[in-house]
Symmetry: C2
Subunit: 205 residues, 2 copies
Amino acid sequence: MINKAIDFYFDFSSPYGYLASTRIEAIAAKHQLVVNWHPILLGAIFKVSKQAPLTSFPLKGDYSLKDFERSAREHQTPYNPPNPFPVAAIAVSRAFYWIHENTNPEISSLSDRFVHAVFKAYYVDGHDISKPDVVANIASSLGLDTAVLAEALGQQVVKDRLKQAVDDAITRGVFGSPMMFVDQEPFWGNDRLEQLDRWIQKGGW
Amino acid sequence: MINKAIDFYFDFSSPYGYLASTRIEAIAAKHQLVVNWHPILLGAIFKVSKQAPLTSFPLKGDYSLKDFERSAREHQTPYNPPNPFPVAAIAVSRAFYWIHENTNPEISSLSDRFVHAVFKAYYVDGHDISKPDVVANIASSLGLDTAVLAEALGQQVVKDRLKQAVDDAITRGVFGSPMMFVDQEPFWGNDRLEQLDRWIQKGGW
């Protein structure tokens, strides 16, 4: 028996995280599942997993840059190579948890839209999502009070929440983006969406 | 227009190379293509691409070991976790090129079978393919003269041929195993076989 959610771990600065984010909800809905978004920071995780950004490696980096675009084209996903890249997704990730876990349901209900709005800002509209004014503009477009959000982003409890999310992800074995869990079964990579779909369909193998 | 071959680069010591080797010929045949096998040595390539064996990384290594088996199970591919792992596939790779490019067609025609026999020896029957007697047994099972092969493996021209294959692969951008090319389009990973299939079917996108 499959549980009720797909846990979707990602870094906002990960192109494969973005690409998978545009398709995971349709896969989940097909199986009456919801998507739980878990923004994390690959920079922190790479320190544990001894990795480095994909594009920093000779040969593999060139392939990756080409593959981001090819993978987007296959599914007609809007994609403009981001620049600068990668960026620190700290503020947007903190903002996500503040929104998602807000005691005000009018705010917490915006978290799905916030994820897609951040990705669109970076991968479609070409905005640097590490900049405070870009974060504010995204929040504003969703009707959030940007002054309240800016104040929240400076709170220790909000900073700690993201740190906790990263620690929890590492404990669960997350080492890349996207990394998805169905029950406790991990799937790493945008190129595993079809396999994840088959896994849910068959109830594993 | 798609050309007549899929170029399949792999290290005999790569589980994903093995898994893909069991399915690539059916995909090729579907499109009236042949498979050109290109054994390479990831150890040499990793020096250029600044990589290391997948299983050597924290978190990612554990996932990989689990995923080798899960990926095998999905397609009912026989797979026993190899031990020792990884091994140096130098001798078997040299043997491949000596067989494949042999001027005696009775020998050169055995190269496809040799690839599968080596993979089976390592991933199904549990033999250490880095050992000379294992290589000899595989060759013998195909009807090859093991004394002639052993003598050939010591020749500089045979050693140089593998070195050339590795250099050519790097020039082409190969950084992992399996890595497949259709025309000049690269696809990296066992989990890209379906995408490769779609690419050929559609003539790209």
